[in-house]
Amino acid sequence: MMAESVSVNKIRDVLLVTVPPEPEDETIALLQGKVLQAMERYEVKGLVIDISTVETLDSYFARTIIETAQMVRLMGGRTIVAGMRPGVAITATQLGLTLGELSTALNVDRALDLLGQETFKGGH
């Protein structure tokens, strides 16, 4: 089965990744790779991971996102996970998943707002 391709887009000074509904492991791994590449190429404040269409969030996905956020932080950015579905939130809580220091937002707009409020190191 071919991995669904995931694209990383730059919106203003933020990276936006939209995750497809039932992402395969390959897709998630690919996501991490692309994010890091983009972080290298552009000067961005951070990353917004849009999971508003994701229906299942298992431990592998969670771990990869946390790792990705850690990597993004090391490269000077902040990560926000946006649009988590209620069902996913409940399941994740019961599974014992915490996103640790990762911030979350109700939707992409809010996430962008949140990142916009941060003082950009490069000076704006």
Binding site: P86, T93, Q94
Partner: protein, 462 residues
């Protein structure tokens, strides 16, 4: 007649008196023995009758005074007489006694007789004669059987009421009632069912021999036996609203075929279940080995009232529980009090199920209203135990995963104490003692402020 007294010695007069007394005594005894309801006889050691009382003689169609000298061979058919004589001889030879209960039929009626026979011996242990006493205990036996049967029914009723307390569902209870009815009547299987609102029949209990023998897979059969058309033998019971016994079902006009693999019906008893005069269902029993009698029908009819009462009370309990649940549901609304703020005032006890429902609704509402802040108010939650606390924390954690900030409000001193003692870690969660306090936090987060309106409109125009 010689005159008494004159010409007689003193001793002979005494002798006469004694003889008279003896005769008198014998006479009285004779009367007693004669008129006793028991049948009494005495046989010589060579098995000839010496004596018997009227009761015994009547049975043999002779007069008591004529029995002396006769034997059993004169009264009974040869092999029966030989049997009696053999029994008697045994007792005479062994100088023994026996007491037994025997059933026999006379003129189409069944009797139960208690027989007592004893070899009477002299002071050397040698048998002189054989004493026999028969006691007709037919009535006593009948009363005994009635009592046992009534006891069985009473036990069944007791079981039904006791199980009503233990059983969780109407189905469980119905199954217990069915088993009780089967035991009382000696049936192999049966079912209990009720009429549903559409006037069709729902089976709510079906006993096992019926199941395992039937080749219908259990799951399908459950679908199978609800909503049945009222017909067949059992349908007759409902339509006529009367009990029905059919001991030869194959030939009954109302019989219907049974599903594949179902054991054949050899006898059938159906009794309607009534409540307030209306037939609301029925209990059917089948395959009692020798067929059903009126006594069985009456026994089951005696069980109908407790069965109906127990099932209705169970149903009422279930309905009550469901309604209580629904009321609890209504008491956990999640309300948007301002743009960006939802409040969930919790009332009552939070158990697992309730918390699940609450969580789902809580999170959905947050997403619907896109509220960055949510307040969970527990002013109306009387006690918090570890389970409740865990559930609360789960709900709050899940909401935070969505990206919403949550404030737990209404934490009273008592609850605060409990939570600390329980070792519940709320360090991560913002809490306030009152809803008002929570609202303040919410407004702060949203960057809002409440300002009192200016007193006089003139000042504003300035």
């Amino acid at each position: 007649m010689k005159e008494r007294g004159k010409g007689k010695t003193q001793s002979s007069v005494r002798g006469d008196k004694v003889r008279l007394a003896l005769e008198e005594c014998q006479f009285r005894l004779g009367l007693l023995v004669n008129y006793l309801p028991q049948k009494i006889f005495v046989k010589d050691k060579d098995l000839t009758y010496l004596f018997c009382n009227d009761s015994y003689a009547r049975d043999l169609n002779i007069k008591a005074e004529n029995i002396a000298g006769m034997t059993d061979l004169d009264f009974y058919p040869k092999d029966l007489a030989e049997k009696y004589r053999a029994d008697d001889k045994r007792l005479i030879d062994t100088a023994g006694s026996e007491l037994l209960q025997e059933r026999y039929t006379l003129e189409g009626q069944e009797f139960v007789v208690e027989t007592f026979k004893k070899a009477i011996t002299d002071k050397d242990g040698k048998t002189i004669c054989l004493l026999g006493v028969f006691n007709d205990i037919t009535e006593i036996k009948q009363v005994e059987m009635e009592a046992i049967k009534k006891n069985k029914v009473l036990n069944a009723i007791n079981t039904i009421f006791r199980e009503n307390i233990k059983c969780d569902t109407e189905e469980d209870l119905a199954r217990t009632c069915l088993v009780a009815a089967q035991e009382v009547t000696g049936s192999q299987f049966g079912f209990i069912g009720e009429l549903n609102s559409a006037g069709r029949f729902d089976t709510i209990a079906l006993s096992n021999p019926g199941w395992d023998a039937c080749q219908v897979a259990r799951g399908e059969a459950t679908l199978l036996i609800k909503d049945m058309e009222v017909r067949g033998l059992w349908g007759r019971v409902i339509q006529d609203e009367r009990s029905l016994i059919v001991n030869k079902p194959k030939t009954h006009p109302d019989r219907v075929g049974l599903p594949e693999g179902h054991p054949p019906l050899t006898s059938f008893l159906g009794v309607p279940l009534k409540h307030g005069g209306r037939t609301i269902g029925m209990i059917a029993l089948a395959n009692k080995p020798d067929g059903y009698e009126i006594a069985d029908q009456e026994a089951v009819e005696a069980l109908v009232t407790p069965i109906v009462e127990a099932m209705r009370s169970k149903l009422a309990d279930q309905t009550l529980a469901r309604q209580a649940q629904e009321i609890l549901e209504l008491s956990t609304p999640v309300v948007q009090v301002w743009e960006g703020v939802v409040v969930a005032p919790l009332i009552g006890v939070l158990d697992s199920q309730r918390t699940y429902r609450f969580m789902e609704r809580f999170l959905e509402r947050i997403v619907d209203t896109e509220s960055p802040v949510a307040l969970v108010d527990i002013t109306g939650v009387p006690t918090v135990d570890t389970e409740t606390a865990q559930h609360l924390i789960e709900a709050i954690t899940a909401a935070r995963l969505l990206g919403t900030q949550v404030v737990l409000t209404g934490v009273s001193p008592a609850i605060a104490q409990t939570l600390v003692h329980l070792g519940v870690d709320l360090s991560d969660i913002e809490t306030r003692s009152s809803l008002v306090g929570g609202l303040r936090v919410a407004l702060n987060i949203l960057g809002l402020e409440i300002i009192r309106k200016a007193e006089s409109p003139r000042e504003e125009r300035r």
